[in-house]
């Protein structure tokens, strides 16, 4: 029998116990991302700050690597969370899954420590293997790359074998293939070539395809599961739309990769391919508004978990604005020539990653806490009117929007002064960096970063306390068909 109001592992199945471990590390890494982001932001304002102790290049690297890894932990945790529920079978190879979790976590810890302790040194073959591969966003040394590939392969085995022995649903089919792609595409990130164009060509497979294709599909699967759990949406509808979304995503998204090939020395035809698919990429996103309205109008279900539902809604809006609006504003090569690699890109990156990925992982955190506390009540009339989750939701979202708009202002200055007027010259770079509008944008970014950090603290506090001592049980959403 479920123990109400306290975090009792007896309330969870084997996969969910493992998922909680992944979620815990994910939250710690999110904290690291926020901390190192604030430090890097401060170094824009005070370039001497921590110089020689914790250089900007290291802060930025840890900030971005922490993002990639906490989201990966969040997704792997979400997959383990839904695995037994979905397959109606206990996780096959759970001990191996647990072992890999500890090995991966130890590896991440070592990699971060090496980043911080060995900031300067010779760039040799052994550096690539042991210290830092030097490839932006995926700086992890080669041994860690191989570790990530092996870890994802084990998760693939857990997922495929479990579904094979249990119930093989539509979500299962998509998830199994996606885990295979998650393993396969990362292979493009474990080698290095001395030709920068060739290297960048493959590097984008990890940055665009690994993140924007395999992660997107995982998000679609998690969303499908979440909608069944929180709103009781029928499985048949959810799975049909999962197939449709995956088809639309792949139809426009895979060759949308071309917009990253504009300026890396690839043949000119990538202008056509990248431009064409990038221009059409937002159409499915916009068209899905119809589906959202249809579903909202066709059913009047009450949800069983308000914080999760609120974060799922934040996901829909964040994905639309971050990926759709902010992406399309500078995706055509005619303008991207001036904006790529400026704070424009950072502005788009922040809102898109937060909207498309962070929001849904946070939604899963709340789903997990509810079950962990014995399927407690998490709808309306929470103690204190649920102020903690509402304020953390508000602070995190407002903080992120504020940072995004601030960077947009700075990026606009860069694209005009550094790129268009000064022709990407050395002088142009500094002319833009020292322009008062750029500096003001950086100040506002830092202030909104602090707001985001406060939201994060509140989020952690809420996750640790929501549902504690609650005696009411959850009112289940309509059961799936």
């Amino acid at each position: 029998m479920a123990t109400l109001g306290i975090c009792d592992s007896a309330n969870l199945n084997g996969g969910q116990k493992l998922a909680v471990k992944y979620f815990t590390v994910a939250i710690v890494l999110l904290g690291a991302q926020v901390l190192f982001g604030l430090l890097a932001g401060l170094q824009y304002l005070y370039p001497d700050f921590l110089y020689g102790v914790l250089d900007f290049s290291v802060n930025r690297m840890v900030h971005i690597n922490a993002l990639v890894v906490w989201l990966l932990y969040g997704f792997l945790g979400s997959v383990y969370w839904l695995l037994e529920d979905e397959s109606q079978h206990e996780v096959v190879g759970l001990k191996l899954g647990n072992l890999i979790f500890w090995v991966l976590t130890a590896a991440v810890t070592v990699v971060v420590l090496v980043y911080l302790l060995v900031q300067v040194g010779p760039g040799t073959e052994s550096t690539i293997w042991l210290i830092n591969e030097g490839r932006e966003y995926i700086e992890a040394p080669r041994w860690a790359d191989i570790g990530i590939v092996v870890s994802v392969l084990v998760v693939f085995y857990n997922v495929a074998a479990t579904f094979n022995k249990g119930r093989y649903t539509g979500i299962a089919g998509v998830l199994v293939l996606d885990m295979l792609a998650l393993f396969g595409i990362y292979l493009a990130g474990v080698f290095y070539t001395t030709n920068i164009s060739i290297d960048q060509y493959w590097w984008w497979w990890v940055i665009h395809l690994w993140v924007e294709a395999t992660w997107e599909v995982m998000v679609a699967c998690i969303m499908a599961y979440g909608l069944m759990k929180v709103l009781g949406v029928r499985r048949k509808i959810v799975e049909t739309w999962l197939y449709i979304e995956v088809a639309l995503m792949f139809g426009s998204g895979i060759l949308g990769l071309g917009h990253h090939y504009f300026w890396i020395g690839t043949p000119e035809y990538w202008f056509s391919i990248g431009g064409f698919f990038s221009a059409l990429e937002p159409i499915p996103l916009v068209a899905m508004v119809v589906h959202a309205v249809f579903d909202a109008g066709a059913r009047h279900a009450k949800n069983s978990n308000h914080p999760t539902m609120a974060w799922l809604i934040a996901h829909a809006f964040g994905n639309f604005f971050g990926a759709g609006v902010w992406g399309f504003m500078h995706t055509l090569p005619q303008i991207n020539l001036y904006t790529h690699g400026t704070q424009w890109s950072a502005s788009h990156g922040h809102l898109a990653f937060f909207g498309a990925y962070a929001t849904i992982v946070i939604a899963m955190f709340y789903l997990a806490v509810q079950k962990w506390r014995g399927d407690v009540w998490m709808s309306g009339e929470l103690p204190g009117n649920g102020w903690k989750w509402k304020w953390s939701l508000g602070l995190l979202n407002l903080g992120m929007v504020g940072m995004t708009v601030s960077m947009l202002v700075s990026g606009y200055v860069q694209s005009q002064i550094e790129r268009a007027i000064e022709g990407s010259s050395w002088i142009g770079y500094f002319a833009a960096q020292s322009h008062h509008w750029f500096a003001q944008g950086m100040w506002w970014r830092e202030l909104f970063g602090v707001m985001f950090a406060l939201g994060f603290v509140l989020l952690v506090w809420d996750l640790m306390t929501i549902g504690r001592g609650e005696k009411r049980t959850m009112v289940p959403a309509e059961s799936e068909a």
């Binding site: 049909t240 431009g275 064409f276 916009v286 249809f294 109008g297 609006v325 303008i335």
Partner: protein, 119 residues
């Protein structure tokens, strides 16, 4: 292959690009709402949004020099057709998927009959 945008056109490009997506979403929203709530009065507003999208796309095309090359002109046409037709396509998919489900379940009883027909 590409003619880079002029400095004076930067703002036009950013603004019109954002308007393309936002008006596209507004068109889809009003289109779907008009049908699901059986409120045909909203449909002209939906197409007014699309008209705004159409104008924004032309501004974007002009500012980003898209009309000077056949390939980019084709992209503009595809965008205009895509934003116009995609909501219709998704609507048909919605009706199809939910109607099949309704045969054995009464969940979609709340959907007015009018919405399963073309407005």
């Amino acid at each position: 292959m590409i003619e880079p945008a002029g400095l004076a056109d930067f703002f036009t490009i950013f603004f019109s690009s954002a308007m393309v997506i936002l008006l596209g979403a507004l068109y889809a929203l009003l289109f779907a709402y008009a049908r699901i709530r059986a409120m045909p009065v909203l449909m002209p507003l939906a197409y007014l949004s699309y008209a705004g999208l159409f104008i924004s796309t032309l501004f974007l095309a002009q500012a980003a020099n898209l009309l000077s090359h056949p390939l980019w002109a084709t992209v503009v046409v595809c965008m205009l057709l895509g934003y116009l037709l995609a909501p219709h396509g998704i609507w048909h998919l919605c009706v199809g998927t939910h109607a099949a489900d309704a045969e054995k379940d009464a969940v979609v009883e709340v959907i007015p009959e009018s919405m399963t027909k073309e407005a």
